[in-house]
């Protein structure tokens, strides 16, 4: 039993079988990558994990509880954070405010009417937010408008927003999509530091093999909505089936 267990999940969109009998188990404190060609069902699977989609059949258990039928904010409160393909941040707010919102969500739950105490009185949370910003080297951009940051900084901010909630599971949807090589390498370094410095399970959907092979402990290859193989990166590299379905196709 892993921290995340996906059992016999099926999802159909009209005539298209997006996911067919997906079984997946993510062990605690590992980095699990899901790779596969375009249209393999990676994003559909991810959306089933965070409550955006509900599978037609099957079960998704997180930390001993089912996530099915729960709203995205309830699933986040259970301890799953998500990083999007294009960074989703609060662009009209400052970097600092972007960090405070997940802290409030963590402390106060999905809704609390805190209408009269000023944000500036939350000394403990402010210190925590600044510490996290320091950790991702963004303290100098504390009062910038988040919308004005570079793409790489937006990505870093989004990850910091997820991490500050101390999630048990961090889902990353193509975290380096559309990034320049240097930014990609920075992101890899950041993820490596995160992995080393705290107890966290990560599940990465990724196109870039360089990212996958430098981070993942285990890899699941998805093709046409079904897991093809699941193994360590070394084994995956040489697997004939994978070469045929994925790497071969790419070449």
């Amino acid at each position: 039993m892993g921290i995340l267990d996906v059992r016999d999940v099926n999802k159909r969109f009209g005539g298209l079988q997006a996911l067919g009998n997906v079984n997946l188990s993510v062990a605690e404190n590992t980095v699990h990558a899901i790779i596969g060609p375009n249209g393999a069902g990676k994003s559909t699977l991810l959306n089933c994990l965070v409550g955006k989609l509900i599978p037609d059949t099957g079960s998704v258990m997180f930390d001993g509880q089912s996530v099915l039928g729960r709203k995205p904010y309830e699933i986040n409160q259970m301890g799953i954070s998500r990083v999007f393909q294009t960074p989703e941040i609060f662009g009209d707010l400052t970097v600092f405010e972007n960090m405070m919102i997940p802290l409030f969500a963590k402390r106060d739950g999905s809704f609390r009417m805190h209408a009269f105490e000023g944000v500036s009185h939350e000394r403990g949370l402010i210190a925590e937010a600044e510490k996290m910003l320091d950790e991702v080297n963004m303290l100098d951009k504390r009062d910038f408008h988040a919308g004005s940051l570079s793409r790489g900084d937006k990505r870093r901010l989004e990850m910091a927003m997820c991490l500050i909630q101390r999630p048990k599971l961090l889902l990353l949807d193509e975290p380096t999509a559309g990034m320049a090589r240097a930014d990609t390498n920075n992101t890899i370094e950041l993820l490596k530091t995160i992995k080393k410095s705290r107890d966290i399970t990560m599940c990465i959907i990724e196109h870039d093999m360089h990212v996958v092979f430098s981070l993942a402990d285990r890899i699941t290859v998805l093709a046409q909505g079904t897991p093809l193989v699941e193994d360590t990166p070394e084994k995956i590299k040489g697997h004939p089936k994978v070469k045929e379905a994925y790497l071969g196709e790419a070449a």
Binding site: Y73, G91, I101, E122
Partner: protein, 400 residues
């Protein structure tokens, strides 16, 4: 002090000073001068400034922070007015219970309408609120006549029970609204030279209520709750995936702004105890949208400025008629005078809406942040000039 930062506190103090000195500031011209018609310092208009200021402050909590554009806020204003007048009819002419009830009733209405309307966002939300407001207007105008007195409007009468007060005064007339004995219409007149300043009890009550409303709005803006509302406007997707439910936040903002509208409605009725259905019509809802955008949506002071601006135009510009214009342009040769008056005529008097519309367009196109942005730009211009002066001075010094 008061739990506010330095900047907010000075803004609050500035607004407090301006509202308290309004009878002087709004009466800059001596009574017998030709410009006296531009004086806005009479009680009726000053009350309108602050009451619609409250209305716009509340509207801004919803629209400015969450970005949900309600086109039906006048319904809450109207409901508040009806509630207040009923209090005057049934309980007493004291304005305090009337205002309290109008806030509560408007809040209940806002809860019901908001609960349904907030199932949608964007234009669909706006249309839903508009539909609800027009339904309320139509009901108040016709079916609900027993409660609202239909087209005539709800008024107080000699045979109202007023269980804590009197049905009629000793000389058989309708009693007037009061605040623990201080009559709302009581006005002190101060004559200084050619000037005449009026201090009305009603205005000062409204101004104090507005200051409290403004203070609460600042606290909301600076609170975690206010931050969440801005986050709703910025990115709902991220909000949901950060473990927050946007719905109760927007509903709370909707109810708070509805209660502000109810407060404004209650104060309107306290100054002049009658309530009509036209207060709920969509033009009234549109007016508060104009006020907020004109002043600067999402800013603290903007809505108050916008409200003052529009009310000034409505009451002062609309009074300029052709006779006044002829007076102004009398120095021109006859033919030219008539020509100029003909040109200016559509923009003043009954045509004041045209001027307002043009100004609104200019603000939206050139100053998307409203009058507040205009002020900021001017301030920046001055600062830059000062900075470049200092710069030049610094450069010149070594040369000497």
């Amino acid at each position: 002090m008061l739990g506010l930062g330095k900047k907010d506190l000075s803004l609050l103090i500035l607004v407090a000073v301006l509202t308290m000195l309004a009878p002087f500031l709004l009466n800059p011209f001596p009574t017998d001068s030709g410009l006296a018609q531009f004086n806005a310092g009479y009680p009726d208009l000053m009350q309108r400034f602050v009451i619609f200021g409250i209305f716009a402050i509340g509207f801004n909590i919803l629209f400015g922070l969450t970005g949900y554009l309600s086109f039906g806020h006048a319904a809450f204003l109207g409901v508040g007015s009806y509630a207040a007048v009923w209090m005057f009819k049934l309980l007493s002419m004291n304005v305090v219970p009337a205002i309290i009830l109008s806030v509560i009733i408007a809040g209940v209405f806002a809860l019901a309408i908001g609960y349904i309307s907030l199932r949608r966002s964007g234009i669909y939300f706006s249309i839903l609120t508009l539909a609800f407001a027009q339904m309320s207007f139509a009901l108040a105008y016709s079916v609900l006549t027993p409660i609202t007195n239909g087209e005539t409007g709800l008024q107080i009468a000699l045979d109202d029970p007023r269980i804590l007060g009197v049905s009629q005064t000793e000389d058989g007339s309708i009693p007037v609204t009061h605040f623990f004995g201080i009559e709302m219409r009581a006005t002190e007149v101060l004559r200084l030279g050619g000037w005449e300043f009026q201090f009305s009890a009603g205005y000062y009550l409204c101004a104090l209520v507005m200051l409290v409303a403004f203070y609460l709005a600042i606290r909301i803006f600076r609170s975690p709750f206010g931050m969440m509302l801005r986050a709703v406007k910025s990115n709902q997707q991220r909000l949901y995936y950060t473990g927050l439910n946007a719905r109760p936040y927007t509903l709370a903002a909707f109810v708070i702004s509805g209660m502000y509208a109810g407060l404004a409605g209650g104060l309107l009725a306290s100054m002049d105890p009658l309530a009509g259905a036209e207060r709920m019509q969509w033009t009234a809802s549109g007016e508060v949208v104009l006020m907020t955008i004109l002043g600067g949506a999402g800013t603290l002071i903007g809505p108050v400025l916008g409200a003052g601006f529009i009310k000034y135009f409505e009451n002062i510009f609309s009074k300029l008629n052709d006779n006044v214009l002829h007076g102004w342009f009398a120095f021109l040769p006859d033919g030219l005078e008539d020509f100029v008056v003909t040109i200016v005529h559509p923009f003043v008097g009954k045509g004041w809406h045209l001027t307002l519309g043009l100004m609104f367009m200019a603000v939206v196109i050139f100053l998307p942040g409203g009058l507040v942005e205009g002020g900021q730009r001017i301030a920046r211009l001055f600062r830059r000039r000062k900075a470049s002066d200092e710069h030049r001075a610094a450069q010149e010094t070594p040369a000497e």
